[in-house]
């Protein structure tokens, strides 16, 4: 009896709390920290299983200021990228001394060799970009269908599974306009301090049989990073 009441109430809340709310919950969780800082390891695996590893120090403030400073591989150490609002990115390559502004006009383009496109990395929240529908309520997860609001999206839909309790994403399946599944992402969330954050994200391009695994370590939150950290001037390291 008690169990059925719980089920009932849960179903009831579900009906009231529609897919839009669920997606907002996920956005809130993802965007909760004011800022974060840590080490990012990017592992690229091609179809023959060969791996390439890059490493960078990452700083992020809010949702759309992001700084990567690469430390590995040796030959690309010192390269830094600064992502700013409105799809502007600044690139600094030590051998060329001056930072260059990069305007990204093609969002379907892969982000420097990874399986994430610029569209996947956009700073806008999921709720802003997609219209959700609840497909299924599973034992531990909600299954949502996300339809892109922009007709320019490369995707026809994304099937998203989120954790029922904490609303963090578990998997995302990306479909092209021909309704073929072309990519899938899996997330491993963990709680660090007050926040849930993805310790590991793996994106697999099913057509190219190529995958990108991003591992976040040494994550620290809410350090009150100053806006000055995210300036073009700051891209160029101070002379030692």
């Amino acid at each position: 009896m008690i169990i059925s009441v719980i089920f009932f109430t849960e179903n009831f809340t579900l009906n009231a709390q529609d897919a839009v709310t669920l997606l907002q919950e996920m956005d809130n969780l993802m965007l909760a920290p004011k800022d974060k800082q840590g080490t990012v390891k990017i592992i690229l695996t091609n179809k023959s299983g060969k791996e390439k590893v890059r490493e960078a120090e990452m700083k992020q403030k809010g949702r759309d200021k992001r700084l990567y400073r690469y430390t590995q591989p040796e030959s690309q150490a010192g390269i830094a990228t600064l992502s700013l609002p409105d799809n502007i990115m600044w690139l600094y390559m030590p051998a060329f001394k001056k930072p260059k502004k990069i305007s990204l006009l093609a969002k379907s383009q892969a982000f420097t060799g990874t399986d994430f496109s610029y569209e996947d990395m956009e700073s806008k929240s999921y709720s802003e970009r997609y219209t959700p529908t609840l497909l299924n309520t599973n034992e531990d997860t909600y299954e949502l269908e996300l339809i892109p609001k922009s007709e320019k999206s490369k995707y026809s839909k994304i099937i998203l599974n989120i954790d029922k309790v904490n609303y963090y994403p578990l998997t995302m399946e990306y479909f092209n306009k021909g309704n073929q599944k072309i990519k899938e992402a899996t997330y491993k969330y963990q709680k660090t301090g007050n926040y849930w954050n993805a310790g590991e994200v793996t994106m697999t391009n099913l057509k190219k049989e190529h995958s990108t695994k991003i591992v976040f370590t040494n994550i620290i939150f809410d350090q009150d990073l100053s806006d000055d950290e995210f300036t073009v001037e700051n891209l160029v390291p101070a002379p030692e």
């Binding site: 390439k52 690309q76 390559m93 990069i102 305007s103 006009l105 057509k207």
Partner: protein, 750 residues
């Protein structure tokens, strides 16, 4: 021979059961027979150019790239761009395709003092729709080598949609669905399909169609010839059954040993049908001949006489096929030689063991009537052909000799006119769309034959990249190279975007950092290996002319010798280089296989006849027929190619049989009667009849190849038929004359 003949009779049921079981077993294997129409995989590994070509094709993924060509009067129109976009989207949504690139989906990097703009050449959501925008796009396309001549033709009337097929995808089904989906869009522009996956699929379709259409036609045709000759069901069914069983065994064995059906071995069924039915015809003919007296005894008598000639006939044919193993350039030709030889062996075995076994197990009563009927039927052949021929031989042996001599002289003149061709495009008929696609590639996109220059060295070293640029500039000075592409161009391009000018930076760290922007780009694996220790310059060769290819090979080799070093080893290969070697090897292979075949045939026939001169006489008619064959090829402009190169040796192997029959019968008859004239007459009347029937059925079988979808095979069939007629005429006119002249002298001397 008597004993063998008796055993054949005694164990007839064992033979029949064994044949049935073997046929069932090997026939079951054929379900796994696969067609391999990939020309590149047929290139031999022991030719460095071919081996390197194959290695680069698989390492840098050139073999899995296909293209749709869209042709119209002007590409730079909004509706044309819309159609390109439709095709691009359709391809992208096709299963088994990993990437697509086209005018409406290609990256465009622009740079100026203010920064870099990474975008698309055409915004697919906002296609250029004003004359100004279209003109701007045109200017942009024609300003960069990355687009001009590689995505859009230099005259702006054709554009390519380039796609890559996934490794494990089934190429044929992907290629077919590409064609179906593209056609279903019903676009007003003309579409063509090209590139390795499309070509391989197309050839395999032609092969299937050949197999399905030609084999039944050949069966029916030979059946008609057989019925006209024997006027009995048995005379039709037995030879065809033997051939069918031999074909089953051969194809089954191919599967058992892991071989695939190639564009050459595709003809094995037709060839075995034509060749294989001949042996049964001889056996049947002989049995019928003796059967007028007594049923079972006829089989003994026939077998005692026929075992050696049929075995010999098969052996010489086998020699003709086996001769391809030595000196053939393409592995598919060697395989063809091995399996047709094996198939010939099977048909020989079946004719000698299985045919008599079947006949002796059946009732022999009706045969007498048939034999009588047959005599009447064939009297026309005797009256109008064989008797006049005998008279001619007796009265004017020297006229015959003179006529042949004149023919030979004329033919020798033709031999010098023979052209060689190694172009795969000649496999297709003139109206074939693949040829049209090829022409567009040659005329509008700077050629279709790939050239690869391989650099082994540090791909991030300024020296290596500069050497690549230098090599490209040198290549482009050749009149047959329009454009070149390499990772060095990309580095120079991005360096330019970074504001440092279109050049390779002098500092290594700049190159390494520029690489950061290129990493993961779809185009990179086409240019460099993952380890960055090998890179290629991709180019195309315009001229289909072999001389131009040789000139270019020398031109490039001179450069490579001067510039290749320990730090950076340079090698060049490509279809033009493979073509040059294939061209050389055509002649070598022709001379090699033909001389091997002639040598062994003379030795073999000499051994059987216990006299080398007789071996030479026997071989003369077929050598003459081959000389005439080459003469006809020269005058008719039929080129020597990978299929026609097979004709001479095959013709020798089959055609020698006629001479062997003539000489054997002549010896047999001359020994008994001691009368030269009578012996010649008997030979022509008995062997001549068998030979004429055989020429009709064998040539008929080969002429079916005229309906093949592939041009060289049409010529192959025609030329073999021609050689059969030539060698039978030789065996029935030239050879008897030689026999008359030689034996007359002997008679006079004695």
């Amino acid at each position: 021979m008597d004993k063998l003949a008796q055993s054949i009779f005694k164990y007839r049921w064992v033979t029949i059961v064994t044949v049935i079981l073997l046929t069932a077993f090997l026939g079951y294997q054929i379900k796994d027979l696969r067609i391999n129409s990939d020309v590149i995989s047929a290139l031999p590994d022991d030719d460095p150019d071919a081996a390197l070509f194959k290695e680069i094709g698989s390492k840098f993924g050139g073999n899995d790239m296909g293209m749709i060509i869209l042709e119209t009067d002007n590409i730079f129109k909004t509706e044309v761009l819309e159609h390109v976009q439709q095709l691009t989207d359709t391809l992208r949504m096709t299963d088994g395709i990993s990437s697509v690139s086209s005018l409406t989906d290609i990256i465009d990097i622009k740079g100026d003092d203010y920064g870099i703009e990474i975008g698309k050449l055409v915004d697919e959501w906002d296609l250029p729709d004003t004359p100004e925008e279209l003109e701007k796009l045109k200017q942009r396309v024609f300003s960069k080598d990355l687009y001009k001549g590689s995505i859009v033709s230099e005259d702006g009337t054709a554009t390519l949609i380039i796609f890559t097929i996934q490794d494990e995808a089934d190429i044929k089904s992907v290629a077919n669905s590409i064609r179906e989906k593209a056609e279903s869009l019903n676009l007003p522009e003309k579409l063509y399909y090209i590139g390795s996956p499309m070509l391989v699929t197309y050839i395999s379709e032609l092969m299937y169609s050949d197999l399905l259409r030609l084999i039944p036609v050949a069966f029916i045709l030979i059946a008609v010839v057989l019925y006209l000759s024997f006027n009995s069901k048995r005379g039709v069914i037995l030879p065809l059954l033997t051939a069918a069983i031999a074909i089953t065994w051969t194809l089954g064995t191919m599967v058992l040993f892991g071989y695939e059906m190639s564009m050459i071995s595709n003809n094995i069924p037709i060839i075995l049908l034509a060749v294989g039915s001949a042996y049964s015809i001889h056996v049947l003919n002989k049995i019928n001949y003796y059967r007028e007296t007594d049923g079972k005894r006829a089989i003994f008598l026939a077998l005692t006489y026929i075992i050696i000639p049929v075995f010999l006939a098969a052996l010489t044919t086998i020699i003709g096929f086996i001769s391809f193993i030595f000196g053939a350039y393409l592995t598919i030709i060697k395989d063809f030689g091995i399996f047709t030889a094996l198939g010939t062996f099977f048909t020989c075995l079946l004719s000698l063991f299985f045919v008599p076994a079947i006949i002796s197990s059946l009732s022999l009563k009706k045969v007498k009537n048939v034999a009588k009927n047959k005599k009447k039927e064939n009297s026309a052949l005797s009256n109008y052909l064989l008797i006049p021929l005998t008279n001619l031989l007796h009265k004017h042996p020297k006229y015959i000799l003179t006529t042949w001599s004149i023919l030979i002289l004329i033919s020798i003149g033709g031999i010098f006119l023979i052209e060689r061709s190694v172009d795969i495009q000649e496999y297709f008929k003139k109206d074939n769309p693949t040829r049209a696609a090829e022409n567009i590639m040659i005329n509008k996109f700077g050629g279709s034959k790939p050239i690869y220059v391989l650099f082994r060295g540090d791909m991030q070293s300024p020296e290596v990249l500069k050497l690549m640029i230098e090599t490209e500039k040198y290549m482009e000075k050749s009149p047959d190279v329009v454009s070149t592409q390499s990772v060095a161009d990309l580095i120079a391009e991005i360096n330019n975007v970074m504001g440092e000018g279109y050049k390779i930076p002098d500092e290594r760290d700049k190159i390494e950092q520029l690489w950061f922007l290129l990493d993961g780009n779809d185009i990179m694996p086409r240019f460099v290996t993952d380890e960055l220790d090998e890179g290629i310059i991709l180019s195309k060769f315009v001229s289909p002319d072999n001389k131009a290819k040789k000139v270019f090979a020398n031109y490039m080799n001179a450069f490579i010798q001067n510039h290749s070093s320990e730090d950076c080893n340079i090698q060049i290969t490509g279809m033009p280089f493979v073509d040059v070697t294939m061209d050389k090897s055509l002649l070598k292979s022709q001379m090699g296989s033909l001389s091997i075949a002639i040598f062994f045939v003379i030795i073999l026939v000499g051994l059987i006849m216990r006299s080398l001169p007789k071996g030479i006489y026997a071989t003369l008619p077929i050598i003459v027929a081959i000389v005439i064959l080459f003469g006809v090829m020269g005058y008719a402009g039929i080129s020597l190619n990978i299929a026609t190169v097979l004709v001479a040796s095959v013709a020798l192997g089959i055609g020698i049989d006629y001479s062997i029959h003539v000489i054997s019968y002549f010896n047999h008859s001359f020994k008994i009667t001691g009368d030269l004239n009578k012996a010649i007459e008997d030979t022509i009347m008995i062997s001549g009849r068998a030979i004429v029937i055989n020429v009709f059925s064998v040539s008929g079988g080969f002429l079916v190849l005229l309906f093949s979808e592939m041009v060289p095979l049409q010529y192959f069939g025609l030329l073999i038929a021609l050689s059969m007629v030539g060698s039978s005429l030789g065996a029935l006119t030239l050879l008897p004359v030689i026999l008359i002249l030689v034996n007359r002298k002997k008679l006079i001397r004695s």
